[in-house]
Symmetry: C2
Subunit: 109 residues, 2 copies
């Protein structure tokens, strides 16, 4: 479950701009703010089942976007390469600038 939460947090981060406002709110409350289905249902004055169905559909949508665009997959590969590069960069005069550029690269993710 923790692994799924971790993955959904990332997928939500990458693709939330493609969700409707309601989908986005439910996902944020459930996955980021750790609300229960019942708490979200109370907040929006809908049934617990309605919240559950909406979140399940949104999760499937996020996985579909990931299958098509691979943003999370590429992000993970990029982070791995960047970490290795950091370890390889020496102490010469160019290292400081290279380190700054790597930081810029990381910010783009």
């Amino acid at each position: 479950m923790l692994e799924k939460t971790h993955r959904m947090n990332y997928l939500y981060d990458f693709y939330q701009a493609l969700l409707t406002p309601k989908q986005s709110s439910y996902m944020a409350l459930y996955y980021l703010d750790d609300y229960s289905l019942g708490e979200i249902a109370a907040e929006y004055d809908v049934s617990r089942q309605a919240v559950y169905d909406n979140i399940k559909r949104t999760e499937a949508m996020l996985e579909e976007y990931e299958e098509k665009l691979l943003l999370f997959d590429k992000f993970q590969k990029r982070i791995e390469l960047i970490e290795k590069m950091k370890q390889l960069i020496g102490n010469d005069e160019n290292s400081h600038v290279l380190t700054e550029m790597i930081a810029e690269l990381e910010k783009l993710d």
Copy 2:
């Protein structure tokens, strides 16, 4: 016009997985294979206007995806940083490995 073609080629490249097969075919013929609207219309046995409308709508969709996900924008910034990094990497023992990692980073785009 050339600049627009260039931009559309990239947006198509980043977001084609989100298009329908028909949208994707029309865009590929028009922007990648340089078919005219009339040639695409003849190929699919539809009116020139229908092809035009479909392509215009698809272009708007691609721009909307870019507004939301910024994949082309981030790609350009990443390429710029990577080019600068290539110029900074020296000739020490680590350079070869660093250069290989940068090549890996480029492949992810």
